[in-house]
Amino acid sequence: MNAETATQRHTALYEEHQKLGASFTDFGGWQMPLKYDSELAEHHAVRKTAGLFDLSHMGEVWVTGPEAGKFLDFALVGKLSAVAVGKAKYSLICNEDGGIIDDLISYRRAEDRFLVVPNAGNADAVFEALSERAKGFDVEVENASAATSLAAVQGPNSVEILLQLVPAAEAATVTDMKYYAADEVTFTISGAPVKLLLARTGYTGEDGFEIYVPNEHAVSLWTALLEAGKAHGLVPAGLACRDSLRLEAGMPLYGNELSLEVSPYDAGLGPVVALKKEGEFVGRSALEAQKEKGSQRKLVGLKGLGRRAGRSHYPVLKDGRQVGEVTSGQPSPTLGYPVALAYVDVEFTEPGTQLDVDLRGKPEPFEVVSLPFYKRGN
């Protein structure tokens, strides 16, 4: 841990969270709101109405230049050069051994310009890796993380809420925006118009948006969203429910499901690795070898048949013998039964396989199920 992360960093919205009575937690070196009141109530609000998240701890790295697409094809495992302007892509940045440095979303903002969004705890590592890999390419890599805030509105009422702050002439930009797309939209906050980058992305399994905002406008955007969302059931939502929401949606969390020691193929992210793309990319030969060899263990969903939840690092058993380990787990607020993600020996990964999770010495029955646990109705 370096000196910067050892001291707890605060987002531009920290005082707003204090005013709202948040309890805080350390996440990736940042003091972030864990919850404002009940994390279960916040979870249900995102599923039924809407929640407002401060995600300003996430990183923002701009990649600009004539070779931006070509460079990202080399630096990341996906084929970013094929992403259309205005669209986004989920990808991974791997090291030479094929280990995952981070999972991230890249937005193509122009033919020669991408916004790359790493996780909070990996933002510096990703920026350093991208800067290192940029040598020899005609690109500039700029770390805008410290100057950029990020607010997310997630839940079925998200569109209605955003429309309160967007001029009628731009309403269609919001309503017609496709999932994993982004555009500049004018927000009227504190009575003044401000152009912000709006993306239809999220980490909750619900419809929703993420809004990139310069720090100086973060508080006025946050308060305007809360005010506009009041009539639409919008509540501030913390990282506790963000974790339970993403788990229900079967989405991996870096540090739990993903790490330098994990192969993308084991994590079910094989389709994200574009081995067919032309040219060299960092990790290619290791990833090719991993794919050729095949996975010994795979990430699966586990549904608890009892009431007790499995937790990170709890052993997964078959007939008393350890065959895997839980990476994330908790009672699912939406589904009403425990859910978990776990790495399990490949022979036990078929849906319907009966396994046990060792809950502090007591085996509790779980069943392998297909992911995601929860999928929203359309």
């Binding site: 309890s23 009940s38 994390e39 279960l40 506790a240 009431r307 007790r308 939840a309 908790q330 009672p331």
Partner: protein, 126 residues
């Protein structure tokens, strides 16, 4: 700030005990707030012997599992089935509807006054 109910006594492990006989036991609001939304409680059986300072059950929230420690030694007389059925009572009313079990006390463990517990655990006596 979490409420520490005056008139009760508290263990360092965040259980409260009242002065009735048998004594009623629950967890403090300081503990309930720190745990987050409680989704499961595992309590000792009626008739079970519990020993002050030793684990006698578990409290599971959305985020974590914590051991429940007996604040007194004795025999369990009654368990609160309502709290087992609706563990959210531990959050909404930890000193009332969210009580856990009662014990015929043979010996007390080290217990703190509400004031002492609040000053070392960051609650507000009310």
């Amino acid at each position: 700030m979490s409420k520490v109910l005056s008139g009760l006594r508290y263990s360092a492990e965040h259980e409260w005990v009242d002065d009735a006989s048998p004594a009623k036991i629950g967890i403090s609001q300081v503990a309930a707030d720190a745990l987050g939304d409680v989704v499961y409680v595992d309590l000792p059986e009626v008739g079970a012997a519990v020993t002050a300072g030793e684990t006698c059950g578990e409290v599971e929230s959305t985020k974590s599992v914590s051991d429940l420690y007996a604040p007194v030694t004795g025999t369990v007389v009654e368990v609160n089935q309502a709290a087992i059925d609706d563990p959210a009572l531990l959050n909404s009313d930890p000193y009332g509807e969210g009580w856990l079990f009662t014990v015929e006390v043979s010996e007390e463990g080290p217990l703190l006054s509400a004031e002492d517990y609040a000053s070392s655990n960051g609650g507000e006596v009310a």
